[in-house]
């Protein structure tokens, strides 16, 4: 199966000075004013019958999605930017309800540590409890614990059919609870949209049962803030918003500051950072 040679990347990351990693900078890029490196790019192999793919973290997500489509598969990463960027930021897209979160996609990572070593986390199989789950710690860590070099990702089959539906709704739960495992349910206070996938007859019957009619696509998502709230709280939103029903993500037109995390969670976070990067040289200034 082979591996991507990460020696050159590790050499670039080095061992002592502050260094940042950046991909296509679609998610904001790395911190400014710091020497910046880029992870290797390219798909090493696709194994459709194992439902896994191996690529460099610098591979564009769209390139990966196109390559997998040739095998009738896809990957639950948000479109745009690089694979490493999508994993490091860790934000799922609007299909999280059906496809699961980004953090469930990464099976194995080989990354460059703060000491310039190549470290492996996880393993190449979907089922694996060999040791602690370092992969889940790396997803969403924004490159502060190590720079992703090569990743093995879980893929999923493309559905036989896929259709956005919509209906006026003042309470999204009436639609949500009538659907069986929808891929996405969005709501803006007055209209509900659902992405249904599967056998076309099932999609049609589900839509009928929930009173939905086919539509062109999802609404544009407001860009002011992306809020994480308990799913039960999505109905309490005010202003201009689109919520992910059943998930608890709110795309809002207004900026937002998240409620503070508990002191003990912050202490644990700092303890993890201190273990993995005691001098704070990786993506300095980024505070997770």
């Amino acid at each position: 199966m082979g591996v991507i040679d990460l020696d050159a990347f590790a050499h670039e990351v080095g061992v002592d000075d502050p260094v940042a990693v950046a991909g296509l900078c679609t998610r904001g890029g790395g911190p400014a004013g710091v020497r910046t490196v880029a992870a290797p790019s390219g798909i090493l192999w696709v194994q459709p019958d194992e439902m896994i793919v191996c690529c460099g973290a610098g591979t564009p997500v769209d390139e990966l999605v196109d390559a997998l489509a040739e095998h009738g598969q896809t990957v639950a990463l948000p479109a745009g930017g690089t694979v490493g960027g999508a994993l490091s930021v860790g934000h799922s897209d609007h299909r999280r309800l059906g496809y699961g979160p980004v953090r469930d996609v990464l099976l194995q990572a080989r990354y460059v540590s703060a000491t310039g070593d190549v470290v492996k986390a996880g393993g190449p199989t979907v089922k694996n409890v060999s040791g602690f789950d370092l992969c889940r710690l790396l997803v969403g860590a924004r490159g502060t614990l190590g720079f992703l070099g090569e990743v093995i990702l879980r893929t999923r089959p493309l559905p036989p059919s896929s259709q956005w539906m919509s209906a006026p709704a003042t309470d999204p739960d009436t639609v949500f609870t009538r659907l069986h495992r929808p891929v996405s349910v969005l709501w803006n206070g007055t209209t509900v949209w659902a992405l249904l996938e599967g056998h076309p007859f099932d999609v049609a019957e589900q839509a009928d049962a929930a009173g939905l009619a086919a539509c062109a696509g999802p609404p544009p998502l407001p860009q002011g803030s992306r809020r994480s709230v308990p799913p039960a709280a999505v109905v309490d939103q005010r202003g201009e918003f689109v919520t992910e029903v059943g998930v608890g993500i709110v795309h809002h037109a207004e900026p937002w500051s998240a409620p503070p995390r508990s002191a003990r969670v912050l202490e644990l976070t700092r303890a993890v950072k201190a273990e993995f990067d005691p001098t704070g040289r990786l993506n300095p200034g980024i505070d997770v």
Partner: protein
């Protein structure tokens, strides 16, 4: 020291929930593995405050502590070493709240896996991870081991079904990791905690994700003239773009044992049988069934039996889930292994498993999660036979090595514990293990939470000083 610790615990909990007599301590010497240690005290907290008190008492006395659920673990993860304090969560088993609309529930760690599903059945929901021990294993244990089960092929393992967890850390502080908010900025400490085998702290509340029951389910049984043909069928089904709810395989010896036990009309002359379950909406399900009944015979399936009703479906599953009980009829003891290999390597690794059993003159049966490539070779033996244990250990090690060499991993769902701790270097380099040790230190700088498990001693890999004799039994 033990007496002082016990006295402190009796005050903090209550005298009847702190045990120190040797007979009772003996019951907590090991989990469902046969790896024995020794506990100094066993206590049964009822609340998070009592768990905190127990952890603080252990810390004050410098005694390690081991969280224990139902004790069904198979890798020695809950085996107390060096006179540890066992903190049993078995009396914390309430369902605290259920949100039926958004499909989540807060539960206590001692709640049994199947009791959770029973609790929410009327709502049309279930808890997806379903280990074969689901009647007796606890949610806290599932979290500690990131447990799997036959239906994890389509729905994922425990980590995908735990949204949040309240934890008592080794310094006695209580912290909530994750929660109802799906993607709070910051490290996924919840994800790191799941599967940490009691070495990061003790879960005192768990927020689980509940899964909608499928409107339609179809269960099929195929028989094959060779194990390879069955394994190739599994790969072909996945390659055709289907992810069945479950893909389970049993080899001939196993089928024969099960049939004698439950009389389900299983094909006892076949080399292997494959249980395929598809679930979902009716049209998609029928389309999948139609393709599967073509793929099977095209890859050598003899007959395809489709369960005609719920009773027949339950009977077929009973065959799968009672396999371990049935095996007791052949020989009194068995050693159950748990490795994962790439699906396409299943035929080759199974061939090696049979050869290894032959080499060590042992009987082997295979009953496994074929869809996940998750092998469960069962070495069946009678431990009264002189010298048999050495052969069982040697064969086990050979199976683990063969699985890793085939591109697989050490454990799919049982965990590392003590059983596979010293095999970790087969899969990980020193730098990889150092990173895992760093995670542990961040969560438990004291090192008192279930020490000596999972990570081989850095001083000497393979150093087994803390593993009591017979640890490989």
């Amino acid at each position: 020291m033990t007496e002082a610790l016990a006295a402190e615990l009796r005050l903090a909990l209550s005298p009847d929930r702190v045990r120190t007599n040797s007979t009772e301590l003996g019951l907590y010497r090991r989990d469902a593995s046969n790896i024995e240690g020794s506990a100094s005290v066993v206590c049964f907290p009822l609340t998070v405050a009592e768990v905190q008190a127990a952890v603080l008492a252990a810390a004050r006395h410098g005694v390690p502590f081991v969280a224990r659920g139902a004790g069904t673990g198979l890798a020695g993860g809950a085996t107390p070493l060096d006179g540890a304090l066992v903190i049993a969560t078995t009396k914390m088993q309430r369902v605290l709240s259920v949100d039926a609309v958004h499909r989540m529930a807060w539960v206590e760690p001692g709640l049994l896996n199947l009791d959770l599903t029973r609790e929410v059945t009327a709502l049309g929901l279930h808890f997806a991870p379903d280990p074969s021990s689901q009647q007796s294993c606890s949610i806290g244990g599932n979290v500690a081991n990131n447990s799997g089960g036959p239906h994890c092929l389509a729905d994922g393992v425990t980590a995908s079904h735990v949204l949040g967890v309240e934890v008592v850390l080794s310094d006695g502080s209580v912290v909530q990791l994750g929660g109802e908010e799906p993607e709070v900025e910051g490290l996924d400490l919840r994800g790191a905690f799941v599967g940490s085998e009691g070495m990061f702290g003790i879960a005192t509340k768990v927020l689980v994700r509940l899964t909608q029951n499928a409107p339609t389910v179809r269960t099929m049984l195929m028989d094959f003239a060779s194990v390879e043909a069955g394994a190739q069928t599994v790969s072909a089904i996945i390659a055709a773009g289907m992810v069945p709810a479950a893909l389970e395989m049993m080899d001939q010896l196993c089928v024969q044992a099960v049939e004698e036990y439950i009389h389900a009309g299983l094909p006892v002359h076949a080399a292997a049988v494959l249980l395929v379950e598809v679930a979902g909406l009716p049209h998609g399900l029928e389309a999948d069934v139609a393709r599967i009944v073509e793929i099977g015979p095209a890859h050598g399936a003899g007959t395809v039996r489709i369960a005609q009703d719920e009773a027949e479906r339950a009977l077929l599953w009973k065959g799968r889930k009672t396999a371990f009980g049935a095996i007791a009829r052949i020989k009194p003891n068995y050693y159950l292994h748990d490795t994962v290999v790439p699906r396409r390597m299943l035929p080759e690794v199974l061939r090696q498993v049979y050869a290894i059993a032959d080499r060590y003159q042992l009987l082997v049966m295979n009953v496994f999660h074929a869809g996940d490539g998750n092998l469960h070779p069962l070495l069946v033996f009678d431990k009264r036979e002189p010298g048999v244990m050495e052969r069982v250990h040697a064969a086990g090690e050979a199976i683990v090595r063969a699985s890793v060499a085939a591109g697989g991993v050490l454990s799919g769902e049982h965990g590392i514990g003590l059983e596979k701790r010293d095999f970790m270097p087969l899969m990980f380099e020193p730098a990889d293990l150092a990173a895992q040790a760093a995670m542990r230190r961040a969560f438990d700088p004291s090192g008192l939470a279930n020490p000596f498990k999972v990570l081989p001693s850095p001083a000497a890999c393979g150093d087994a000083q803390h593993v009591p004799p017979g640890a490989w039994v």
